[in-house]
């Protein structure tokens, strides 16, 4: 039994032929699996290891190295706030404090209903838009507590 949907399996097969060496397909394959499942489970690691002829523990090592691969489910809305210096100079601490208060969880946690995950991340490379958050990859810039509320109010 395959650990992923047929379509994902097919896309991963395509990836194997995209690169001069098939090992390069690992990161994009992990992104595909995560897109389908929301995170990367031990089963998924074993599955992708089989596809690439590497050991599951090698895959686990790669997954744990990169911050964008998750080994646990994250909330429907994954809020990532930049905490590094340029954002800090523009007041990201007060935006983070507001998010923690409004959501009732701290950075690194998920709300009990699974709706929101809050994460403080390192420099997102958009320091001219500080303070800034990404929600599921979409950017919201030049934030203050009021604008944060407007953004969150629109999310179901």
């Amino acid at each position: 039994m395959s650990a992923v949907r047929e379509e994902t399996d097919r896309k991963i097969d395509e990836l194997l032929g995209t690169f001069p060496r098939k090992g390069s397909a690992l990161l994009p394959a992990l992104f595909l699996i995560q897109e389908e499942k929301g995170f990367i489970s031990p089963d998924s690691m074993e599955y992708v290891a089989g596809k690439l002829d590497v050991s599951p523990v090698f895959v686990a090592g790669v997954v744990s190295f990169y911050t964008m691969f998750y080994t646990r489910p994250v909330g429907r809305h994954h809020i990532q706030i930049c905490r590094t210096l340029a954002c800090a100079l523009r007041g990201c601490r007060s935006v983070l404090a507001h998010l923690e208060q409004r959501l009732g969880v701290g950075a690194g946690e998920t709300t009990p209903d699974g709706k929101f995950s809050l994460e403080a991340v390192e420099c997102l490379g958009a320091c001219d838009k500080a303070p800034l958050i990404q929600i599921n990859g979409e950017e919201y810039e030049l934030l203050d507590p009021k604008k944060v509320d407007e953004v969150l109010d629109r999310l179901e």
């Binding site: 995209t18 690169f19 001069p20 060496r21 090992g23 390069s24 397909a25 690992l26 990161l27 994009p28 992990l30 992104f31 690439l52 090592g61 790669v62 190295f65 990169y66 911050t67 964008m68 691969f69 905490r83 590094t84 210096l85 340029a86 800090a88 100079l89 523009r90 007041g91 601490r93 007060s94 991340v121 390192e122 420099c123 997102l124 490379g125 958009a126 320091c127 001219d128 838009k129 500080a130 990404q134 990859g137 979409e138 950017e139």
Partner: protein, 429 residues
Amino acid sequence: MASEPLLLKNVGIADSWTIDSYLKSGGYEGLKRVLREFEPEAFATEVKNAGLRGRGGAGFPTGVKWGFLPKNKDKPRYLCVNADESEPGTFKDRLLIEENPHLVLEGIIASCFAIECHTAFFYIRGEFHKGYRIFKRAVEEAYEKGLLGKNIQKSGFDLDVILYRGAGAYICGEETALLESLEGKRGLPRLKPPFPALVGLYGCPTIINNVETLANVTLIAERGAEWYASLGRPPKNTGPKLYCVSGHVKKPGVYEAELGIPLMELINERAGGMLHADRPLKAVVPGGSSMKILPASKCDVLMDFDSLMEAGSMLGSAGVMVMDSGTCMVQALLNLARFYAHESCGQCTPCREGTGWLVKILERLESGNGAESDVDLLSDVARKVEGHTICPFGEAIAWPVQSYAAVFRDEYLEHVKRRGCPVGGPSLV
């Protein structure tokens, strides 16, 4: 020196990222000229003569780097574009990718022609979701117009460009970590030598160039080395540059100027001056978080590779972080130390352990529990990390630590004496 925008020429006009918009403003004419008029080696020499220095951080001459490729061609050779922009305070490549992708792509094609490479990889930071979508589309458009693929513009030159997304790791901006990542591994930097030009991706000769560097190659393709070499501060600091200004200024943003614009002109005229009228300039990090900090008294400096080196810092990635008098220098450094502790790949003991120790010492000072000896301990730890690691990450943490603790030594000692922060600005940690 209010010169015409070159790198940002199309930025701000409608649909600037589409090939139609780019072609309308004369795009790809430079590449066509190169394919028509140059032999590969002659164009590589042209780039060398232009004096272009890498815009990723080290400032190494691009044409010289290309010259390190082996003469024999028994193995495939690769170009890897470093679009893993992650240095805190830096956001210029993101702008080029999102707003002017074809300027970058044209430079990639011309560069691959020069180094006789037929497969280029575009390694883009995983967090750049929008940039990835835009650049992917740009590559598709270029294939549709016969600017990529087989026999480009009937020149006989073939090139494929493959996009590759990073997955969240600052260290993958280091060129050999980037190669490891591109091979589907943990991004652990490699020992050099051998250098990537000889043994790089899949063990083959590889050149790694930054996004902005390649955009500059397009300008050289368009107008030639002689013109390019007249811009900036010749002979060693030539061409236009993108400066990223952030922090306590009225208008943070990316500003283009020829190399050598005065730092204070950048802050006061381009970026609108200080954010708060009652809080004067305290310090500037001129080249991304890894570079040494300049106190306000040393900010009368030109923004080019050699002038900043003389001033005791470096141009680096040209990430200019501006700090006003309300900035606590212990908190600013603690913020960065946490960044480096989080991003250390863990391969070398001095960096893995040293970054953690630096965080602990700084937390002690910040909370008011530090001792006077802690200030010297900071520099001591930094000295033991610097030069003792496989990659320049060791310097990237050692330099800010050494410079903040030396330049603002009195402020650090005040934290000990008062058992707390004497500055009192908004918290940075």
